[in-house]
C-alpha cells in the first residue's frame, strides 16, 4: 500500500500562519483560491448570459422599440459611468500591483480610490433610475414614466412610444434587470472592498501574501467587463438618425 512521505507535523512545522490546515503549501492554497475565483466568474458569465440571450432575441424581434427606448437613456451619464468604471478597474489593478510590491500605503490609497469610483458609479446610476421611475420629459413635450411604482410601464402619454409600448416595456425590463443585477454586483463588491480595505489598513497584506486583494481585483474587473457590454447594448442601440 502507498506509504506516507511526510507527516502533518513535518508539513506544518514551517508553514505560514496564513496557511489552512488542509493545504500542503501556500502556493497550493493560493492557486486553489485563484482557480475558485475564476470558476466563480465563469458562473457569473452564464448568469448574465441568460439575460443577454433574452436581450438578443427581443432586440431582433422588437428593434423599433429597442431603438426608441434606448434613446430615452441618458448617454452622457452612461458615458461618464463607463469612464468611471474603467477608471476604477485601473485603480484596482494598480492596487494589486502595489500589494504585489508590498507597498501598504499605496495599496490602501488605491483601494479607497476604487471604492470612491464605485460609489460614484452607483450615485450616477441612482439618478438615472430616479428619472425613469418618477417621470421623464420627452422632447415632444410629454412626460412618461417608464417604471412607476405600480409595476408596469406607462408610455401612453408619449406619441412615438405608445404605439410600440410592449416593445418599449420589454427593453426597459431588460434594462432594469441587466443594470440592476450589475449594480447589485457593484454593491456586493463595495462591501467586499470594505473588508479588504480594513485588512489592508491593519497591515494584513505582505509582498508574499495578498491573495484577497488579487481575488477582489478579478471580481471587480469582471463587473467592469459586464458594463463594457451593457453600455453599447443598452445606450447605443440606434443613436444615428
Amino acid at each position: 500500500m502507498p506509504e506516507a512521505a511526510l507527516t502533518h507535523a513535518d508539513l506544518h512545522a514551517h508553514a505560514s500562519p496564513r496557511q489552512q490546515h488542509h493545504f500542503d503549501t501556500m502556493a497550493q492554497q493560493k492557486e486553489a483560491a485563484t482557480l475558485g475565483m475564476w470558476v466563480f466568474l465563469v458562473t457569473e458569465i452564464m448568469f448574465f448570459g441568460g439575460m443577454f440571450a433574452a436581450y438578443m432575441i427581443y432586440r431582433m424581434w422588437y428593434f423599433p422599440g429597442f431603438a426608441a427606448a434606448s434613446e430615452e437613456l441618458d448617454i452622457t451619464l452612461g458615458g461618464i459611468n463607463t469612464v468611471v468604471l474603467i477608471g476604477s478597474s485601473l485603480t484596482v489593478a494598480l492596487a494589486v500591483h502595489a500589494a504585489q510590491e508590498g507597498k501598504k500605503n499605496q495599496t490602501v490609497a488605491l483601494l479607497i480610490a476604487t471604492g470612491l469610483l464605485g460609489l460614484t458609479f452607483l450615485v450616477i446610476k441612482y439618478f438615472e433610475y430616479k428619472v425613469k421611475i418618477v417621470g421623464h420629459h420627452l422632447p415632444d413635450g410629454t412626460t412618461i414614466t417608464l417604471f412607476p411604482a405600480a409595476g408596469f410601464f406607462d408610455v401612453s402619454q408619449s406619441e412615438h412610444l405608445a404605439p410600440i409600448a410592449s416593445q418599449v416595456r420589454i427593453f426597459m425590463v431588460l434594462y432594469f434587470a441587466l443594470t440592476g443585477m450589475h449594480a447589485l454586483h457593484m454593491i456586493i463588491g463595495i462591501g467586499i472592498l470594505g473588508v479588504i480595505l480594513w485588512m489592508a489598513i491593519k497591515g494584513a497584506f505582505t509582498k508574499e501574501w495578498h491573495v484577497p486583494v488579487e481575488l477582489f481585483g478579478l471580481y471587480w474587473h469582471f463587473v467592469d467587463i459586464v458594463w463594457i457590454f451593457l453600455f453599447p447594448l443598452l445606450y447605443l442601440v440606434h443613436r444615428h438618425g
Partner: protein, 543 residues
C-alpha cells in the same frame, strides 16, 4: 463480506464521528465527511416527502375517474413531487453526499479546497428547502416542475414565486458544490495521483461539476425573471404583452436538460466503482469511460431543444437538436459496453453493491434505449408529453441514479459508519427495489404509446389496467426504499465493525480507517498505481 479480517475488526479509537461531539460540532463542522452526512439526512427527508407525494399520485390513478383527490390537489401533488425530487433530492443526491464524502479521500486530500464554502452550500440548501416547504405550507404549487409560462406567470393561483425562489437558492448550493469539486480535483490531489489514476467516480464528478457551474446560473436567472414577470407583469415571457413563452422553455431546458446529466453522471461514477470492486478488476477501457463523462457533459449542453419538438420550435432547430441527441447517446452506450466488458474474466461477487450495480445496468439500459425513441423526432411527436416520457425519465433518474445512489450507500456505508449492515436484508431490498421499479414503470411505456398524456388526474378507462399495475409496483417500490433506511440506520449503531476494507477493494478510501479520521489520512498518501489495479499487488511501492 469476504475478507477474513472482517471477523476480528474493531472500531478505531478516534475518527471523524467521535473526535468532536454535540450538535454544535455538526452545525459548524467544515469536515467534508460530516457535511456529506448533513446532506444525507436532509436529502433523505426530502426523498421520503417526494416519495409520499408519488404514492398519493399512484393511488389517485388507481381508478380512471381519480380515486383520491380533486384535479386541483392532484396537480399540486405531481408538481411538488417533481420540484422536490428534482431540485432537492436528485440534483444534490450523489454529489452532495457520496461525492462530498469520498472525493477528498479518493484523491488523498485532507478536505475539499474550500471547507467553509462547503458548509455554506449546505446552509443554502437548507434555506432553499425551507422555501420549498413554505410553498407547500402555502398550499403547494400547481404549475408542474417545469414552471411553463404563461400558466405559471399569469394564471396559476399558487405560491409560484416562493417555490421559484427555492429553486433559485438551491441553484447556488449546487454551484458552490460544483466549484468546490472542480478546484479540489485540480489542486488537491495527493502526490502521484495523476489525472489518469483518478477513480472514475472522481472523473464523473468532475464532469458533473462542469454542468453545475455552467448550467445552473442560467436557470437561476430564468427563474428570477419568471418571478419578476409574475410579480410585476413585465411581459418578458407573457405572450399577451409581447413576450415569448417559448423563450422561457429554451432558457429553462438549457439548464434542465444538462441537469439530467447532473443526476445521472455521478450515478455512472458510482457504477464504475461498484463494477470494478465487484469484479475485482480495473474498469475496461478506463480512458474511454473517463472521457465519455466529459463528452456527455459537453454534448449534453447542445441537446436541450429535444424537449420542445412540438412546442413551436422550428423544423430546422428540431432536426439539429435531434441529431445532437443521438450523438450524446453514443458515450452512454460506450460506458455500458465497458462496464459489461469489465465483468469478463473478473472475480464477481454477489454482494449487495454488485447486485445494485447489475440493477443499475439493466434499468439504465432500458432508460437509455427508450431515450433513442424520444430522440427520433417523428416518433417523439406522438410520444412527447405522454407516459412514455414519464417512464423513460424515471428509468434514468430512479432506475439509474437512485439504484446507483443506493448501491453506493451500501458499498461505502461500512466506510461512512465503520459498521456492517445485515447482508441478507440488503440483498432482499435490492431485489424488491428492482422488481417494484419495473412493475411500476414498465407498464407506463405501454400506456404512453397508447396515448395517455402525463399530468392527468383522470383518464379514459381503457388505460386502467396499466395504471393498476403501476400502482401495485409503486407500493412494492416504496417498501423497498423503506427497508434500507431501517437496516442502514440500525447498522450505524449496532452493526459489526467493518474493518478498513471489508470488500477487499482497491482505492485510497479503503486504506484509511473505517470511519476515517477527521483529516482522512494519518499520513499524506503517495499514489503509485492506477485505480483498481488488482492482480499485480507487487507493483505497489513504498514511496
Amino acid at each position: 463480506m469476504t475478507t477474513s479480517d472482517a471477523a476480528t475488526a474493531v472500531m478505531p479509537a478516534r475518527h471523524y464521528l467521535n473526535e468532536q461531539r454535540g450538535i454544535r460540532s455538526w452545525l459548524l463542522t467544515t469536515d467534508h465527511k460530516r457535511i456529506g452526512l448533513l446532506y444525507l439526512f436532509s436529502i433523505t427527508a426530502f426523498f421520503f416527502l417526494g416519495g409520499f407525494f408519488a404514492l398519493l399520485i399512484r393511488l389517485q390513478l388507481l381508478s380512471p375517474e381519480g380515486a383520491l383527490m380533486t384535479s386541483d390537489v392532484y396537480n399540486r401533488m405531481f408538481t411538488m413531487h417533481g420540484v422536490i425530487m428534482v431540485f432537492f433530492f436528485l440534483i444534490p443526491s450523489i454529489p452532495a453526499t457520496l461525492g462530498n464524502f469520498l472525493i477528498p479521500i479518493m484523491i488523498g486530500a485532507k478536505d475539499l479546497a474550500f471547507p467553509r464554502i462547503n458548509l455554506l452550500s449546505w446552509y443554502i440548501y437548507v434555506l432553499a428547502g425551507l422555501f420549498a416547504l413554505a410553498s407547500l405550507v402555502l398550499g403547494g404549487v400547481d404549475t408542474g416542475w417545469t414552471f411553463y409560462t404563461p400558466f405559471s406567470t399569469s394564471f396559476s393561483n399558487t405560491p409560484v414565486v416562493t417555490a421559484g425562489l427555492g429553486v433559485f437558492i438551491a441553484g447556488f448550493s449546487s454551484i458552490l458544490t460544483g466549484l468546490n469539486f472542480i478546484v479540489t480535483i485540480h489542486r488537491m490531489r495527493a502526490p502521484g495521483m495523476t489525472w489518469f489514476r483518478l477513480p472514475l467516480f472522481v472523473w464523473a464528478h468532475y464532469a458533473t461539476s462542469l454542468i453545475m457551474v455552467l448550467g445552473t446560473p442560467v436557470v437561476a436567472i430564468t427563474v428570477l425573471l419568471l418571478a419578476f414577470e409574475r410579480v410585476l407583469r413585465v411581459g418578458i415571457f407573457d405572450p399577451s404583452i409581447g413576450g415569448d413563452p417559448v423563450l422561457f422553455q429554451h432558457l429553462f431546458w438549457f439548464y434542465s436538460h444538462p441537469a439530467v446529466y447532473i443526476m445521472v453522471l455521478p450515478g455512472m461514477g458510482v457504477m464504475s466503482e461498484l463494477v470494478a470492486s465487484g469484479a475485482r478488476k480495473n474498469v475496461f477501457g478506463y480512458s474511454f469511460v473517463a472521457f465519455s463523462s466529459l463528452a456527455i457533459a459537453i454534448i449534453g449542453f447542445l441537446v436541450w431543444g429535444h424537449h420542445m419538438f412540438v412546442a413551436g420550435q422550428t423544423v430546422y432547430a428540431g432536426l439539429v437538436f435531434s441529431i445532437l441527441t443521438y450523438l450524446v447517446g453514443v458515450p452512454s452506450a460506450v460506458k455500458t459496453f465497458n462496464w459489461t466488458a469489465t465483468l469478463y474474466k473478473g472475480s464477481i461477487s454477489y454482494d449487495t453493491p454488485t447486485l445494485y450495480a447489475f440493477g443499475f445496468l439493466g434499468l439504465f439500459l432500458v432508460g437509455g434505449l427508450t431515450g433513442l425513441f424520444l430522440a427520433a423526432i417523428g416518433l417523439d411527436i406522438h410520444l412527447t408529453d405522454t407516459y412514455f416520457v414519464v417512464a423513460h425519465f424515471h428509468y434514468i433518474m430512479v432506475g439509474g441514479t437512485l439504484m446507483a445512489y443506493l448501491g453506493g450507500l451500501h458499498f461505502w456505508w461500512p466506510k461512512i459508519t465503520g459498521r456492517l449492515y445485515p447482508e441478507g436484508w440488503a440483498k432482499l431490498s435490492a431485489l424488491v427495489v428492482f422488481i417494484g421499479f419495473n412493475l411500476t414503470f414498465f407498464p407506463q411505456f405501454i400506456v404512453g404509446y397508447l396515448g395517455m398524456p402525463r399530468r392527468y388526474a383522470m383518464y379514459p378507462p381503457e388505460f386502467q389496467l396499466f395504471n393498476v399495475m403501476s400502482t401495485a409496483g409503486a407500493s412494492i417500490l416504496g417498501f423497498g426504499y423503506l427497508l434500507p433506511m431501517i437496516y442502514l440506520t440500525w447498522a450505524w449503531f449496532y452493526g459489526k465493525p467493518a474493518g478498513n476494507n471489508p470488500w477487499g477493494s482497491k482505492g485510497l478510501e479503503w486504506e484509511t480507517t473505517s470511519p476515517p479520521p477527521t483529516f482522512n489520512f494519518d499520513r499524506t498518501p503517495v499514489v503509485t498505481e492506477a485505480t483498481h489495479a488488482y492482480g499485480h499487488p507487487e507493483e505497489v511501492k513504498v514511496a
